[in-house]
């Protein structure tokens, strides 16, 4: 019989309840603040549901009615430099944080709403209604509700999407040597999703001051909590990640506050993350003004039981017991809140001329449709003060390096000059510069606080980097070991980082660099070998550079690091070892967006290509003897493409061949060919021709891999196809 011994985590998991003594000894200012905030939020949410009932809220209205105490209890007392973010059901957290910011934590119950508070409520409602005066110009609405000044980082429409962002914010707070904290709010429904679990692990491993506040309202839409997990006490997750956790009655704001205070103290003292689970109940259905019982997944009885525990009632009762308020005052608070919200709503509405008895939003309050595509990316003015060098024109001395040495050298130079730059990725801190040597020497020089080896959690650590970039005190350089790992991190890469600037009304900068290497030819197989350019080119918010040589790499990486946008830097295993050269003594120059390089001038066909295929194209041109003009695109995203150079070339040659290496499906050239035929139709003497890999992703067998990708031979074929298109007189 084996020897067995029970193991313990040694990590606290506490159920906390308030006592009468706690109520008695609580600061009355704190308690009146709580009461006031609860009423303001309740009145606000009721107004939102009313408007939703009138059909005036475009999109969903996820009401927090019934859950206010979880937000108010944990947020009251936070600083403006502390941060919160929430989920799709986040009005209450947003308002609590914003009210705390605007009022400095002091509410006067008799004169509850002054001008700044009224303005806050109005702008919040405007944002939810999609109006121009909202915090994000009406673009974000309920589920992307952000006010950075108040520490409201933004609610998130993706379940669990905000967890990595809050974790990154906490990382910034800690490494900026503050004792500020971040709280990420989500529900029972999000407690199973990968981004949350990855974030908890990262926070614990790196001792970050972030709290994961789980509002357990027992239902995810219509699915009960006990249907989706084995132990529906969600704070149990702390045990798995060595994170101390608290469970409280979320309808008791004081209990919430006391538990949160313990968690916050732990975080401010640098001991690491915390989890707080508050049992709450949303009185209405997931979305809209009807009770959940109307949809059949819970009983009216149950709803009645919870309504009896309404936090507004509970708080008022306790305060009246303590003699801090009387009934009149409470009613007065309620009245003021309701009247203010009614007035705010009315000011935004007018009778609908087309529907009798109905109201509509005043037309002049809508944002101008003309701004629909503004604020997707920066205007590039941050590059103005930097020097541009075209390496092809460099006449002074050169320094011989391999391509990958240029990568490390440029990173070193930038990290030396800018303390904000940090590197995150798997094994970047070991193996003498990561798996390819790209970060060689950096860990030794800059230490574990700036060169960070991450756990294998692409979604988590990329999202954390996104949180860093949004905060702005640090500028992350993230490495994905293989491009296909973008799929693992897809939500954070595309839904969060890629959309943040535009979605929040151009109030954010996102200075993040993502480096990855195309590895076709390495035998790593179908799941490792994509070229990411095509997929990233579909994302408006991402910029893309693809350097074909070391000197270009320096200029392009420098530009990428200077831009206030997310930039994908594509490298290639074939290029890393090549003996190359860079201008001696200058690692600071940039190559601006909109600058392609003509590698070979010619008259008969324009070859558009990038990365390692530039070399293959030049070889193929030599072999076929065709007088081709080879254009190295360098900047690949739609906004940064150099149409001047491309257009001039096409008008000269009348023939186009787009050359890339990877498989056809996610290929880059499809959208480019489409755009070219639209712009230059009348200059084309034959269809835009393409060289790509084959249909399927390259597999591991050496022979099959070679057959699946494009190299020089395939470009030769492409050029011959173009030649055939010259006609019989060529």
């Amino acid at each position: 019989m084996p020897k067995r011994r029970k193991l313990q985590t040694g990590v606290d998991w506490i159920q906390l309840e308030s006592t009468a003594a706690d109520w008695r000894s609580a600061d009355p200012v704190l308690l009146t603040n709580i009461l006031g905030q609860l009423h303001l939020i309740r009145a606000f949410e009721e107004t939102v549901l009313d408007l939703a009932g009138e059909g005036l809220v475009h999109g969903p209205a996820h009401s927090s009615i019934g859950q206010e105490a979880g937000a108010v209890g944990s947020i009251v007392g936070l600083r403006s430099t502390d941060a919160v973010n929430g989920s799709h059901r986040g009005h209450h957290q947003f308002l609590a944080k914003a009210i705390e910011h605007v009022t400095g934590g002091k509410l006067n119950l008799e004169f509850l709403i002054d001008e700044p508070l009224e303005a806050l409520l109005r702008r919040t409602l405007a944002e939810i209604l999609g109006l121009a005066q909202g915090f994000s110009g009406g673009r974000g609405g309920s589920m992307h509700l952000q006010w950075l000044e108040a520490g409201a980082l933004g609610t998130n429409a993706i379940v669990g999407g905000g967890a990595p962002v809050a974790t990154g914010n906490a990382w910034a707070q800690k490494h900026a040597a503050t004792d500020d904290v971040s709280i990420n709010y989500f529900g029972d429904g999000a407690s199973q999703i990968g981004s949350v679990l990855e974030s908890m692990n990262l926070a614990a491993a790196w001792q970050l001051p972030v709290a994961y506040f789980i509002e357990n309202n027992l239902y995810a839409v219509s699915t009960r909590a006990d249907e989706v997990t084995a132990d529906p006490r969600f704070s149990v997750r702390g045990q798995g990640f060595a994170i101390p956790s608290w469970r409280v009655d979320g309808m008791d704001p004081l209990a919430v506050h006391l538990a949160s205070a313990e968690a916050i103290e732990r975080m401010r003292s640098g001991e690491g993350p915390a989890i707080v689970e508050a049992e709450v109940y949303r009185f209405f259905h997931q979305n809209g003004p009807y009770p959940g019982s109307a949809f059949g997944y819970r009983s009216k009885e149950e709803e009645g039981q919870w309504r009896a525990r309404d936090p507004l009632e509970r708080t008022a009762t306790e305060l009246m017991k303590l003699g801090i308020v009387d009934e009149t005052l409470v009613e007065g608070v309620r009245e003021q809140s309701k009247m203010t919200m009614t007035a705010i709503a009315e000011a935004m509405l007018e009778p609908d001329p087309e529907r009798e008895g109905r109201r509509r939003i005043r037309p002049e309050l809508w944002p101008d449709p003309a701004v629909v595509d503004t604020g997707i990316r920066s205007d590039g003015s941050e590059l103005d003060s930097l020097t541009t060098v075209e390496p092809a024109d460099h006449v002074d001395a050169w320094r011989d390096v391999t391509f990958v040495e240029a990568v490390a050298a440029t990173m070193d130079r930038r990290m030396e000059q800018d303390e904000r730059i940090v590197v995150l990725g798997e094994d970047v801190h070991r193996l003498n510069g990561g798996t390819n040597g790209a970060t060689k020497g950096l860990f030794k020089k800059y230490g574990a606080d700036r060169v960070i080896g991450t756990p294998i959690s692409e979604n988590g650590f990329f999202g954390l980097a996104g949180g860093l970039a949004l905060d702005g005190r640090f500028r992350p350089v993230v490495e994905f070991m293989y491009p296909d790992f973008m799929w693992v991190a897809a939500d954070q890469v595309f839904n969060q980082v890629g959309k943040a600037r535009h979605m929040f009304g151009d109030n954010n900068t996102v200075p993040l660099v993502l480096r990855t290497k195309v590895s076709m030819g390495s035998g790593y197989g179908s799941q490792h070998l994509m070229d990411p350019a095509g997929i990233f080119a579909t994302q408006a918010g991402w910029r893309i550079v693809a350097p074909s040589n070391a000197a270009d790499y320096v200029g392009l990486l420098n530009a990428a690091l200077a831009l206030e946008d997310p930039v994908l830097v594509i490298e290639h295993v074939d290029l890393y070892g090549t003996k190359d050269r860079i201008p001696d003594g200058d690692l600071d120059y940039i190559i601006r967006p909109g600058n392609a390089a003509v590698r070979r001038e010619g008259n008969d066909v324009t070859v558009l290509t990038y990365l390692s295929m530039v070399g293959h194209s030049l070889e193929a041109v030599e072999e076929t003897g065709i007088d081709a003009e080879v254009v190295d695109l360098r900047w690949l995203d739609r906004a940064s493409l150099d149409w001047n150079t491309i257009g001039e070339s096409i008008k000269k040659t009348n023939n186009v061949l787009i050359v890339e290496q990877g498989s056809r499906g996610p290929s880059y050239g499809g959208w480019l060919a489409d755009e070219i035929q639209r712009r230059y139709f009348d200059w084309l003497d034959q269809p835009v021709q393409r060289v790509t890999g084959r249909e399927a992703s390259p597999s591991i067998s050496k022979v099959l891999e070679r057959a699946a990708i494009a190299r020089t031979e395939e470009v030769v074929e492409g050029l011959e196809l173009v030649r055939a298109g010259f006609g019989g007189r060529a």
Binding site: N654, F681, D682, W683, L684, D685, Q686, A724, G725, F726, G727, G728, R729, A730
Partner: protein, 472 residues
């Protein structure tokens, strides 16, 4: 059952006639056998069938003609009886029109975008084979105005699509180049940039072939029947024949040549021309011209004054400044005059607009510019369309007098001859020397009656003989 349809024996012919049937109903026929002699204006060719079967029915008798694509015979195939074949054919034809696009085993050769000349050049000894494989598309009635876009439209009408790269379409449109009949060397017969460049080089080059003298047809004995029919009045030169001993050069038809052929043939055939001739005394005109050129930096020619005088005459007699339309005669307010410009490979008539409002200097500069650009092939489409009247001057070649063919849809053209010293009889019976220029007005009698034409010519002559009235 296979229906034999009238083949397009030569590219560009819309119809042909049965000269004689070489088989009779009930005869077995095999692929490659000549079953009928088809006759066009230019040639008589044997038509070879492509299936094996039994000749079932004659649908078009000897001597009869029909449009290309019209059913002419029925072949029973695959063991079918003649009666069944005829019945089946009748059913098919009952619903079918004479469209040449119908799928037809006999005509199933893939369409070749080869020009007539190139087909002949490749297969001079086998015109029958060439004819059999000729594209089944028939030429519709020729379009009246030669333009690239209309050529493509005409192609569509014929059911045959001409593949042209977007680049070439644009350049051809901009330069007013007609792509009719142009051969594309790109994939699928696409006309590509180099084809256009080749075409332009051909047009601009002065490799003018000498006029082919009409030579009697020398049909190859192996193919032609003993008594070839020579349609009266048709051009006798048949490049398809291998005559014995006469050397020659084929000048492939350019788009321009075809356009000229089509338009002027149509004009001569359909427009009721009549002609008025007058002699103009031009001593004063020449003296005025000399005076003007002393003062002017840009030299004014006699023709400039002639064109201006013509414009004046059109103002004097506005009924002559008109064109024929389906429902109305269109009278123009301004004198837009076409001027014939000879090119190495043909003729083009750019239009000078508003001559009535231009000074003689402006007329001179305008005509010079048009002629220059015409010779360089750089005229734009709007510059070769329009106008109600033309002037054609062959005086520089020493031609004394000639009649010109009206450019449709215009109503008149003035043919101007050389100014020569001739004897004239003065009022008192004395013979003197004077310089005379003979002009002939061709007029469209649908639009311009005799009296109007005469008044116009009189107005013109008056202006010429009182040259100051031209330059006021």
């Amino acid at each position: 059952m296979t229906i034999v349809r009238m083949p397009e024996v030569a590219t560009g012919t819309g119809s042909a006639a049965i000269q004689s049937w070489l088989v009779a109903v009930g005869d077995s026929v095999s692929a490659g056998q000549a079953i009928v002699e088809i006759e066009t204006e230019k040639a008589v060719v044997d038509y070879e069938i492509e299936v094996d079967g039994v000749f079932a029915e004659v649908l078009l008798a000897e001597g009869e003609s029909a449009d290309v694509g019209t059913p002419i015979a029925v072949i029973a195939v695959g063991g079918q009886t003649i009666e069944d074949a005829i019945k089946e054919a009748g059913a098919e034809r009952g619903g079918a029109n004479t469209s040449t696009d119908g799928g037809d085993a006999v005509q199933s050769q893939p369409e070749e975008a080869l020009s007539e000349a190139e087909q002949r050049a490749e297969r001079p000894a086998r015109p029958a084979a060439a004819a059999a494989s000729a594209p089944s598309a028939a030429l519709a009635a020729p379009a009246s105005a030669p333009s690239a876009s209309e050529a493509n439209g005409a192609d569509r009408d014929r059911g045959k699509r001409q593949f042209v790269s977007p680049l070439v379409r644009r350049l051809a449109r901009e330069q007013g180049i007609d792509l009719t009949g142009v051969v594309g060397s790109g994939p699928n017969g696409r006309i590509v940039r180099r084809d256009l460049e080749h075409l332009q080089a051909t047009k601009a080059a002065s490799a003018a072939a000498p006029e082919q003298a009409a030579a009697p047809v020398q049909p190859p004995a192996s193919v032609q029947p003993p008594a070839p029919v020579q349609p009266a009045g048709a051009p006798q030169h048949d490049p398809a024949s291998t005559g014995h001993g006469s050397s020659f050069t084929d000048v492939p038809h350019t788009g321009m040549r075809r356009a000229i052929a089509r338009r002027l043939a149509e004009s001569k055939a359909t427009v009721p021309h009549f002609y008025l001739t007058a002699d103009c005394r031009v001593d004063d005109l020449q003296a005025l011209r000399a005076q003007l050129n002393q003062a002017a930096s840009v030299k004014i020619s006699v023709n400039d004054l002639v064109v201006k005088a013509a414009a004046w005459a059109l103002k004097d007699v506005p009924e002559a400044n008109a064109t024929w339309g389906d429902d109305a005669i269109r009278q123009y307010d301004h004198a837009d005059i076409s001027v014939a410009v000879a090119l190495p490979t043909g003729l083009i008539t750019p239009v000078l607009r508003g001559v009535d409002q231009l000074s003689v200097t402006e007329v001179s500069a305008g005509l010079r510019d048009l002629a220059e650009r015409a010779r360089e092939g750089r005229l734009k489409q709007p510059e070769i369309e329009g106008g109600a009247f033309s002037v054609s001057n062959l005086g520089m070649y020493g031609v004394h007098e000639f009649s010109a063919i009206i450019n449709p849809p215009q109503a008149g053209i003035l043919a101007v001859g050389a100014a020569t010293r001739r004897p004239v009889v003065s009022a008192d019976g004395e013979i003197q020397a004077a310089t005379l220029m003979t002009v002939t007005l061709s007029a469209d009698h649908r639009v311009i009656d005799g009296a109007i034409a005469a008044r116009w010519l009189s107005a013109f002559t008056t202006r010429i003989e009182n040259p100051l009235s031209i330059i006021i």
